[in-house]
């Protein structure tokens, strides 16, 4: 994946990697979250779960290692690490639903101030289905959403109320964007970090809900 123009996606993925502690079992959503795997520090012991029935996703295979029976949830050919295990889909979602996964990093179309997440369908466009997203948001112990701070038209993706159909209500714990890191708390959205090249004011202006600014926040954080 090194060929990809790094820039924004890479910066978000690198920041998201910091959410992962050594010893964690982690589920990375399809799309940008999958990129996070490329940046996991070699000093951390991390086991990646794939909801199609694999604990211990490895690197993409070399040409001669490709096994058509071994894919991740994004249907990409992968390998398995030493110590990996395979299981069926009911067991996989028992693992997810039963709160055994420490962290899920998912993509988002919209996140509300209350932690509602919309990331599975756009009305009017063909419905593709929610896959495992609705189970994941209720299962993993911590849900981090990574996404651009604003959409292609420059409008906020962090909103007072999601306009798109929900994936889950009150499920997001943390949002990491190209501009900031925010936590969903009972009091509201709390900004923790501002990314390089952005000011607090710019983040506030590009976020629909009011943001709580604690006494200490980290500027030029990533």
């Amino acid at each position: 994946m090194k060929g990809i123009k790094s820039n924004v996606r890479e910066r978000i993925a690198r920041r998201a990697e910091e959410e992962i502690k050594s010893g964690y079992y982690v589920n990375l959503g399809i799309g940008m979250p999958t990129l996070v795997a490329n940046y996991i520090s070699e000093n951390k012991v991390v086991v990646l779960q794939s909801e199609n029935g694999l604990l211990g996703i490895g690197a993409y295979p070399a040409e001669d290692e490709v096994d058509p029976d071994l894919i991740n949830a994004g249907k990409e050919t992968v390998t398995a690490i030493k110590g990996a295990s395979y299981f069926n889909s009911a067991e996989s979602f028992a693992m997810i639903r039963g709160e055994h996964i420490d962290l899920a990093i998912l993509g988002g179309m919209e996140v509300s101030a209350q932690g509602d997440l919309a990331n599975w369908m756009i009305p009017g466009k063909m419905i593709k289905g929610m896959g495992g997203a609705m189970d994941l948001v209720h299962g993993a112990r911590k849900i981090t959403v990574i996404m651009d701070h604003v959409n292609k038209n420059g409008a906020p993706k962090i909103v007072n109320k999601c306009s798109l159909p929900l994936t889950g209500k009150n499920v997001v714990n943390r949002i990491i964007t190209d501009r900031a890191v925010l936590d969903v708390t009972k009091k509201g959205l709390v900004v923790r970090e501002i990314a390089k090249g952005f000011t607090l004011e710019e983040v506030e202006n590009s976020t629909e809900p009011d943001i709580i600014v604690p006494s200490s926040i980290c500027y030029d954080a990533y």
Binding site: K75, A90, G131
Partner: protein, 230 residues
């Protein structure tokens, strides 16, 4: 001891119009390739299909779709198939989307004699609309029902003559639950081995769930061949 079939058509030819069938696989991985081709050959119509995905335009369940053999599809992700989109928009195809974990658990419940269970997935979304919700220990859950099928078509790596099955890697996916949820379960396998050669502690699906076996070569098409550099 279990019935063995000559080919995909031979295995599925008794499936009648209007049947509910479950089909194993995740994407194109772990699908019973020859039995799906057998359904195309049989021309059975009006099927309700329960499967996580619906194949692609030219392979897997996509072939049945193209052939207008499916009336209703219950799955979790159907985004790889343009014909699917066309038939849904034109009203030819009825679709019920279910969260993937709920689908897996509903199938498991069907095979396990559990008529219904509560799950958090879908609460507060359109998935829960019209369904009973209930609070346990302060958290809201939605009631979901078990699923059964007239026929379950699955794919495994090996079967012995008693129908005991072994799956390979992520080709396992929905197959074991689907095996248990069918009134009649037909297993397509890469190899039939003598009874006694699969380690009893390692058997994934005990033969009690399997009524017939088909040994068949698999094409194993790859949807997203991703390799690392160097």
């Amino acid at each position: 001891m279990k019935r063995q079939f000559m080919n995909g058509y031979d295995a599925v030819k008794d499936i009648a119009d209007g049947s509910t069938i479950m089909v194993g696989g995740f994407g194109l991985v772990g699908i019973p390739e020859q039995m799906i081709l057998g359904l195309v050959e049989s021309g059975v119509k009006g099927l309700t299909v329960i499967s996580n995905n619906c194949g692609v335009d030219e392979w897997g369940l996509g072939l049945l779709l193209k052939n207008h053999q499916i009336n209703k599809m219950i799955g979790s992700y159907v985004g790889e198939n343009k014909e699917f989109e066309r038939q849904v928009l034109s009203g030819e195809l009825d679709v019920e989307l279910t969260p993937q974990g709920t689908l897996a658990e509903r199938i498991r419940a069907g095979g396990a004699g559990i008529p219904a269970f509560y799950t958090p997935a879908g609460v507060g979304t359109q998935v829960a609309e019209g369904k009973e919700t209930r609070i346990f220990d302060g958290k809201e859950y939605v009631l979901e029902k078990g699923l059964k099928a007239d026929y379950s078509l699955i794919r495994a790596l090996k079967a012995d003559e008693m129908g005991n099955l072994l799956y390979n890697k992520t080709a396992r996916n929905f197959n074991p639950m689907i095996a248990a949820a069918g009134k009649v379960t037909l297993a397509e396998v890469e190899e039939i081995v003598p009874t006694g050669t699969i380690e009893p502690d390692s058997i994934h699906t005990p033969g009690i769930y399997v009524q017939g076996i088909l040994e068949a070569i698999q094409e194993k098409r790859i949807e997203r061949r991703t390799v690392r550099e160097g």
